[in-house]
């Protein structure tokens, strides 16, 4: 009886340790993500508070009284549990701007006028009012204030699409050749396609500036996608070659015997079977091109990519962490969507090609 209880205790202890470990692991992975998501919804005032609020407020409680220079605006602080004075001004326009930009709260000129007249007409020292938060304020500001965020987003999508197109067509064909044909210098080539990946973007960026400038592709999406393709092709060859090797040649030969041309056999048999591998490559290429910043900073001037724009919001006097977070999330979303879009194929990739 005693040993039975002991066993139960040991089992419970083991499980506890296991779940503690698991929780720590998950927290380690998810907390930073949670942090940046939550930060992207905080108002500027909240973002610079200490300790940082865990969740953004959904409404703002404000108090309007009389100050030395005019009206005195106070805001309810969720942490200190008191109204804190934030502004003393007679300029209503300034106050409206402050509420919108710093407190991330929806208010109109009329509403503010209404509150001031309510204060004037009452005997109280102050009036209280509550306005809803504009949760997407940071995103709105990011795209409105940041110099050409939207065109940069479109450019980044263009670059990613172009890079996928170039890398998949060249890399995929090369991967097919590596998988199917025997030719001179195959081993050397196999190594050298990965060799180009050993050079960091920064290292080759400067010569690239000259080369692209000569080709009239400096500060052009096509130029950047060419640069990204250099590394992406190597990776694509690597992935697709192993995929094509996993597809028996006899499947294609059978198609040829049964009436298909070499091209038809490839399109109808090999390509559909290679789709998971191609999708995985496409995902890698997309993420690489989409997230790349260093080379993009060097190789663009008036036409920055989205990652450059996000990077810039972190710098300089205009740098605001909540804006940068909103930019970061805006940048992550397309990558997440794209990966989910390809999920079906990627999952098949984990299981390998079944033939």
């Amino acid at each position: 009886m005693k040993s039975k209880t002991n066993k139960k205790v040991i089992k419970a202890a083991k499980e506890t340790v296991f779940y503690l470990f698991l929780t720590t692991l998950i927290a380690g992975v998810l907390l930073p993500v949670y942090f940046i998501v939550s930060l992207s919804f905080l108002s500027t005032r909240e973002a610079y508070q200490y300790p940082l609020p865990l969740v953004p407020a959904l409404k703002t409680d404000m108090e309007l009284g009389y100050g030395e220079r005019g009206y005195l605006l106070s805001v309810w602080d969720r942490i200190d549990k008191e109204y804190q004075t934030v502004l003393d001004t007679a300029d209503l326009e300034k106050m409206e701007y402050y509420i919108k930009s710093q407190l991330g709260t929806k208010i109109t000129e009329e509403e503010l006028l209404f509150e001031t007249s309510r204060l004037e007409n009452s005997d109280e020292k102050s009036v209280f009012f509550t306005k809803p938060r504009a949760l997407l304020n940071n995103y709105d500001t990011f795209f409105r204030v940041t110099r050409d965020a939207v065109p940069a987003l479109i450019r980044s999508l263009q670059i990613a699409a172009l890079t996928i197109l170039i890398s998949l067509s060249i890399g995929g064909l090369a991967g097919y050749a590596f998988a199917r044909y025997v030719f001179k210098g195959k081993d050397t080539l196999r190594f050298s396609v990965l060799f180009v990946r050993m050079f960091p973007g920064v290292a080759i960026a400067l010569p690239m500036v000259f080369i692209l400038a000569r080709a009239n592709l400096y500060d052009e999406p096509l130029g950047l996608s060419l640069i990204y393709s250099v590394g992406a092709i190597g990776l694509t060859i690597w992935i697709t070659a192993s995929i094509f090797m996993g597809i028996p040649e006899s499947l294609e030969e059978a198609a040829q015997v049964f009436g298909a041309s070499k091209f038809q056999a490839f399109m109808k048999v090999t390509l559909p079977l290679a789709l998971p591998g191609l999708a995985a490559s496409a995902m890698y290429i997309f993420l690489g091109a989409w997230n790349e910043t260093v080379a993009a900073i060097i190789l663009t001037q008036f036409k920055p990519t989205f990652s450059v724009v996000v990077y810039q919001t972190l710098l300089g006097a205009s740098g605001q962490v909540n804006l940068a977070a909103a930019g970061g999330i805006s940048m992550a979303l397309p990558a997440i969507f794209f990966t989910f879009f390809l999920r079906k194929y990627i999952n098949r990739m984990w299981g390998g090609v079944k033939v």
Partner: protein, 363 residues
């Protein structure tokens, strides 16, 4: 259906490797021809050249009197069953069978008709909507065969189609392939390294070694009249027993002298060896041509080494010096290891080979 003719076909890989060395053969209309040989003998390469999957280094291939040597596979009107079946895994059984027909621009209802015909012929009618991954090895094999006969080709090629099946299924599929062949009347070339498969399925067997054709003949011919030592050894289980013997002439009869026996030859065999000038030759005796006799009729006596019961018969092994000799005896005879047996050879079935050229003497 059509005839298939191969003239002086040669295939070289690179400069040095000669996979197929100047072979010629003809497959008659509706014939079931088996290319047989050990791995690396060039039989699969030959078949792939017929299919058009391998370029021809030299020589011509004629299908129904049309030179197809330079044509791509799709224009040769052949079909093929691959060793690994090569069924397209992303298509259903129906799509697998109908794909070739679609490429031929056949009408939808006609395709449907053909698919159902071949499916019932190969016993896969209820599997048409399945994907290959949901089929057993034997079923995949049937799909591959159905796909191949659906196109009603001029020549039907099979590249070791049974080698991936388990032993029992392999034997039953042999019978089925033979039945299908009988009803489809397709000119067929079948590649295998399994001699018993070849023997049981073929109209004629082509035995290849090192890229050359060694012998062409019916299963009986290659078994009873093996053209050389290689064929005699390759065909038959257990294989032919070989004895290095000396020729000795006493009176009018020839004697074959071996350390363990002295065999006087029958008049017919004596005539056969009349023209043979050398002193040494190799005597080939099939296991069933060694007979157990009483002491008076024996040419040698020995003790049993191992008895291998086979049900219908038994294989008795004994040792002569270093060589293990195998013979076949009815299973009714009680045999034990160590028992003394008296043996003689059946004169009419003896084969003689030249030890230098390895060729059979007297054919």
């Amino acid at each position: 259906m059509a005839t298939l003719e191969i003239k002086n076909l040669t295939k070289k890989f690179g400069r040095k490797i000669i996979a197929v060395d100047n072979i010629s053969l003809e497959v008659h209309d509706g014939e079931f021809l088996v290319l047989l040989g050990p791995s690396g003998c060039g039989k699969t390469t030959t078949m792939r050249m017929i299919a058009g999957l391998e370029e021809v280094t030299d020589g011509t291939i004629l299908i129904g009197d049309v030179d197809v040597t330079e044509l791509p596979p799709r224009k040769r009107n052949v079909s093929m069953v691959f060793q690994n079946y090569a069924i397209w895994p992303h298509m259903t059984v129906y799509e697998n069978i109908s794909y070739a027909l679609k490429l031929k621009h056949m009408g939808k209802s006609e395709i449907d008709q053909v698919v159902h015909d071949v499916a019932s012929m190969t016993n896969i009618s209820e599997l048409l909507e399945r994907l290959p991954a949901q089929l057993s090895g034997g079923q995949q094999q049937r799909v591959a065969v159905a796909r191949a006969i659906a196109v009603s080709p001029k020549v039907f090629l099979m590249d070791e189609p049974l080698s991936n099946l388990d032993a029992k299924l392999r034997v039953s599929m042999r019978t089925e392939l033979k039945t299908i062949h009988a009803s489809a009347k397709a000119t067929t070339v079948f590649v295998t390294h399994d001699q018993s498969e070849a023997m049981s399925i073929a109209d004629r067997i082509v035995i290849m070694q090192d890229g050359k054709i060694v012998q062409i003949g019916s299963p009986e011919e290659v078994y009873e009249k093996s053209a050389n030592l290689f064929v005699a050894d390759f065909i038959g289980t257990p294989p032919t027993n070989f004895f290095d013997v000396k020729l000795k002439k006493t009176d009018e009869t020839l004697h074959l002298v071996h350390p363990h026996f002295d065999l006087p030859l029958s008049p017919k065999n004596t005539t056969l060896l009349q023209g043979y000038a050398k002193e040494h030759l190799v005597l080939g005796v099939r296991p069933e041509n060694i007979s157990l006799v009483n002491e008076q009729a024996k040419i040698m006596s020995t003790t049993v080494l191992v008895v291998e019961p086979q049900g219908s018969h038994q294989v008795i092994a004994f040792k002569l010096d270093k060589d293990i000799i195998k013979m076949v005896a009815p299973s009714q005879l009680k045999m034990n290891t160590g028992a003394t047996i008296h043996l003689n050879f059946k004169q009419e079935a003896l084969r003689f080979f030249d030890p230098d050229s390895t060729l059979a003497i007297g054919d």
